[in-house]
């Protein structure tokens, strides 16, 4: 009875294979750590406060550049009050990147996130609410090298919440001391297609809007991917993509050589490979030539599909080795609808949330779902729904894995009564099944640990640059490479084996073959995995 390659592989070959995988893994870590810069950087731009010569003209494509004729120093209050300037006259201008025109954005930098920080100073007589609602009238313009005029990109009037606290004693002596305010996310550009961008920000003021104190400065922090990291990332994808395609073809050929229809696990494996190939497809290269603002959304969807498939695969993998053993229904997904629906619900709610946020951002880069109470509730309910589904999924998965291990331990108790050949065979299978369980657990653990590490690493904001390894990049490429290698390993090790078992290898000496022959899975040409059949047997016992 033929099994999978994993079962028929000698220990030596298996160790060679594992060594190759490990080397690949180390290479992935090193590529990120040694050659790539950090995944993303920020640039902080102090906005220039300009006077709008025609505040009554509300044409959104009208721009005011940094070299405007009239500037105001907001710190010189007396001068401003004498000039009778009002809020609608003041435009905060921030040109990106700093140091333009010498420095320009590169398309390798992929996307741009803008965050503003408003400096407010304490005044005894003006009580600030702890949570301030800001009304921001923002316009975005772009320009390319050689252009003299700015071109209209987008505009919107958006509301944002800003929390401010005052950390000093609130008395007259503290006048001029700063409030500690949270930063305000402003925009998210899915594609960084042009060379220069410019923000014009107004804070209209009346009874209802922007009831705040005197702004002393507005800083604009823009986050972009680093071009070097994108290159390393895309090269990795470009390498993995053909490899995974080749392994998939090889795997499917193997399955088709056999005299049977492919088993459920094989279908799951090939689709898992497919989703990984879709994730690996280096579509981002196109952004170097075309403006594709939907790239962020597409990236989210690709990643979502892959994770959904991976989670389903684990479920089915555990299930197929656990024997909910009704012949006929065995090889179908229908058996797992209860478990899989948790994944489907979770992923769908995340997709809807993503479409609500990033989908709308395609039209209005300033949009955020978190601003209005309705939007916040909607977003939260989708995220909570996804969280609950994830919880249910993991309970299901743990329950199934626990069942598998219970079956295995039951079988282990019977092992000493078997013939030595059969015992070695089963021990090998159990060992390799555990081996793969272990691999999955290690991969998951590494992912979680590296996620936490990257958060800590950034949060500490290192000043010490003597270290040449870029940790966050290494973690990124390492984890990405790890899942690629993990799935390649699955495809290779779980492909059907050519090797035939010795015609009548174990049965015959004692009465065990009778039991085995009773199993319908054994007599049918089900070649999937002898572990499966072994497990079925255990269940019948």
């Amino acid at each position: 009875m033929p099994g999978t390659i994993l079962e028929n592989l000698s220990g030596r070959k298996l160790s060679v294979l594992v060594a190759v995988f490990l080397i690949g893994q180390v290479i992935c870590f090193l590529i990120g750590g040694l050659t790539a810069p950090a995944p993303a950087s920020t640039m902080t731009i102090l906005s220039t406060a300009c006077i709008d010569p025609h505040p009554e003209n509300t044409d959104p494509s009208r721009w005011i550049a940094r070299d405007c004729k009239q500037k105001v120093e907001l710190s010189h209050r007396d001068k401003i009050i004498d000039k009778h300037i009002t809020a609608k006259d003041i435009v905060f201008v921030g040109a990106m990147p700093l140091g333009m025109p010498r420095l320009d954005f590169s398309r390798w930098q992929q996307n741009l996130v803008g965050v503003i920080q408003i400096d407010l100073l304490y005044e005894k007589e003006l009580k600030l609410e702890p949570s301030i609602e800001l009304t921001l009238n923002a316009r975005l313009f772009y320009k390319n090298k050689g252009d003299t005029e700015w071109k209209y990109y987008s505009h919107a009037e958006e509301k944002r919440l800003m929390d401010c606290s005052f950390d000093y004693v609130e008395d007259a002596n503290s006048e001029g001391y700063p409030y500690n305010c949270t930063t305000v996310p402003l925009f998210e550009l899915g594609s960084l297609h042009h060379d220069y961008y410019m923000l014009n920000l107004r804070l209209p003021a009346d009874k209802k809007r922007n009831n705040i104190g005197w702004i002393s400065d507005i800083h604009l922090h823009v986050i972009h991917m680093n071009g070097g990291f994108t290159r390393v990332w895309l090269s990795m994808k470009a390498v993995f993509f053909p490899i995974i395609l080749a392994i998939m073809t090889w795997f499917w050929n193997r399955v088709h050589i056999l005299q049977r229809t492919p088993a459920l696990l094989e279908y799951m494996l090939i689709s898992l490979g497919g989703t990984l190939a879709f994730l690996d497809l280096p579509l981002e290269f196109l952004t170097l030539f075309f403006e594709m603002p939907y790239m962020l959304l597409l990236g989210d969807i690709r990643q979502g599909i892959f994770y959904a498939m991976l989670l389903s695969f684990w479920l089915v993998f555990a299930g197929e080795h656990m024997l909910i053993n009704d012949q006929g229904e065995k090889n179908s997904l229908r058996l797992y609808w209860k478990h899989l629906s948790a994944i489907v619900i979770g992923c769908t709610s995340l997709l809807i949330f993503d479409l609500c946020e990033r989908g709308v951002q395609l039209r209005n880069p300033f949009y955020s779902i978190w601003v209005t109470p309705v939007g916040t509730n909607l977003a939260l309910s989708f995220i909570i729904l996804a969280g609950i589904s994830a919880g249910i999924y993991f309970i299901f998965l743990c329950y199934m894995i626990w069942n598998v291990f219970r079956n295995i331990s039951i079988k282990r108790a019977v092992l000493p009564n078997m013939s030595s050949a059969r015992r070695l065979h089963y021990e090998g299978i159990i060992y390799r099944f555990n081996f793969l369980m272990l691999a999955t657990l290690i991969c998951a653990a590494i992912t979680i640990v590296s996620f936490i590490l990257s958060q800590i690493n950034e949060g500490q904001h290192k000043w010490d640059d003597s270290m040449d390894i870029e940790l966050s990049s290494a973690l990124f490429t390492g984890v990405y490479g790890m899942w690629n290698i993990y799935i390649c390993a699955m495809l290779i090790l779980y492909a059907p084996s050519h090797k035939q078992w010795p015609s009548d290898p174990i049965c015959g000496e004692n009465g065990e073959e009778v039991e085995f022959n009773r199993l319908p899975t054994d007599s049918s040409p089900n070649e999937i995995s002898s572990l499966t059949s072994f497990a079925s047997k255990a269940a019948i016992e």
């Binding site: 920020t42 731009i45 809020a87 965050v115 920080q117 001391y177 705040i212 680093n226 070097g228 904001h461």
Partner: protein, 371 residues
């Protein structure tokens, strides 16, 4: 144990600053051969803003108070002189704010030393002034970087592709605050390195003290800056997180250095030419703490030789037990009380934007002035 432990600077070997280092090295060796000039570079803070405006920055020879090394740096980084001047100015303003109720009130005394002979005494006040001015320049340079005014900071460094692989687009950009720190390290400290002193002498101790306090000032800016992070990964989750430094207001820096002034440590210079605790029972100062060599004069009576204006005529707070209380401020000489009626703008509300609503208050208050 008694050695004054100076922790190394928080930024080590960053490629971008290599050029700056070389320049500084040249400036120092060059300057070492010449003599030190009179006066303080803080005079830059006395310049009117018009003097520094315009297309052409003023010639470095015309800038007051620069030492030889500093004028060399001025020639290389002409555009940095505006923030240096702004930094000196904000340091002087902040100094007066922090010391408005103390015996020594940071008054500007003369055109050469700015703060008068007080700065020549290796006292706490001098330590404070050095730290605050170094902090002022660090702050102002970092701020100017963010304004896009400087040619050579952050990513907009001229000749950037030379030491930054071109395709590694901006991954190696430094932080503006880091740049401000580095520049100030060169610009302010160069004065102390221009002359060689004999080991263990008072002059060498003074130089070490200034260097330590300058460092403390620069670090105060970094210490008070806040790290802010933003998640921007898949679906806005935290799979990618990016952090940056938020520049503090200079008031926060001033407060921090004032606290350090209150807790400054007395040190002395030992034979090996290092600073050492004056009293071994005290805690060893860190790089963030201020150190001084001599006790301060009490500044009670006017004495032009030590730069003291005396406290006669200063107004004081009758009820306070603190330094601003009449008891301490008047040095026990007693005070005069005068009843006066004042009209002033009060309860002012500054609203965005740009109106101010004030009431006029008429108050009858007792003004206490020191005898």
């Amino acid at each position: 144990m008694a050695q004054n432990k100076l922790v190394g600077p928080p930024f080590l070997g960053k490629r971008q600053f290599f050029n700056l280092f070389i320049t500084l090295l040249l400036a120092v060796t060059e300057a070492a051969r010449r003599s030190s000039p009179a006066g303080s570079w803080l005079r830059m803070g006395m310049l009117t803003s018009d003097a520094l405006k315009g297309e052409e920055a003023p010639g470095c020879q015309n800038l007051p108070g620069l030492s030889v090394g500093q004028s060399r740096l001025c020639q290389l980084y002409t555009d940095h002189m505006t923030p240096v001047s702004v930094g000196a100015k904000q340091a002087l303003l902040e100094c007066r704010h922090q010391f408005q109720h103390r015996r020594w009130n940071c008054s500007l005394l003369d055109d050469v030393n700015v703060l008068g002979p007080a700065i020549n005494i290796a006292s706490r006040e001098s330590a404070f002034a050095h730290a605050l001015s170094a902090a002022g320049v660090t702050h102002a340079v970092a701020r100017s970087c963010r304004d896009g005014q400087l040619q050579s900071c952050g990513c907009s460094r001229m000749g950037r592709p030379q030491d930054l692989r071109k395709d590694w687009v901006w991954g190696g950009c430094g932080d503006n605050l880091e740049y401000g720190y580095k520049f100030t390290q060169g610009f302010v400290d160069v004065r102390e390195r221009e002359r060689k002193y004999k080991r263990g002498t008072r002059e060498q101790g003074r130089s070490l003290m200034n260097l330590h306090n300058n460092e403390a000032g620069r670090r105060a800016v970094i210490k008070k800056s806040r790290v802010t992070c933003k998640c921007h990964g898949v679906s806005g989750s935290c799979s990618l997180i990016t952090c940056w430094q938020q520049l503090p207001t200079f008031r926060e820096v001033g407060d921090f250095i004032r606290e350090k002034y209150d807790g400054a440590t007395e040190v002395r210079v030992n034979k090996r030419g290092r600073l050492q605790l004056g009293d071994p029972r005290y805690r060893v100062p860190t790089a963030n703490d201020l150190v001084y060599l001599e006790d301060s004069p009490n500044y009670c009576v006017a004495d032009p030789t030590i730069g003291s204006l005396g406290t006669t005529g200063r107004s004081c707070n009758r009820t306070s037990q603190d330094m601003d209380g009449c008891n301490l401020l008047c040095c026990g000489r007693g005070y005069n009380t005068l009843k006066t009626t004042i009209r002033e703008r009060c309860n002012c509300k500054f609203k965005w934007c740009c109106e101010v609503q004030c009431k006029t208050c008429i108050k009858t208050i007792d003004v206490h002035t020191c005898k």
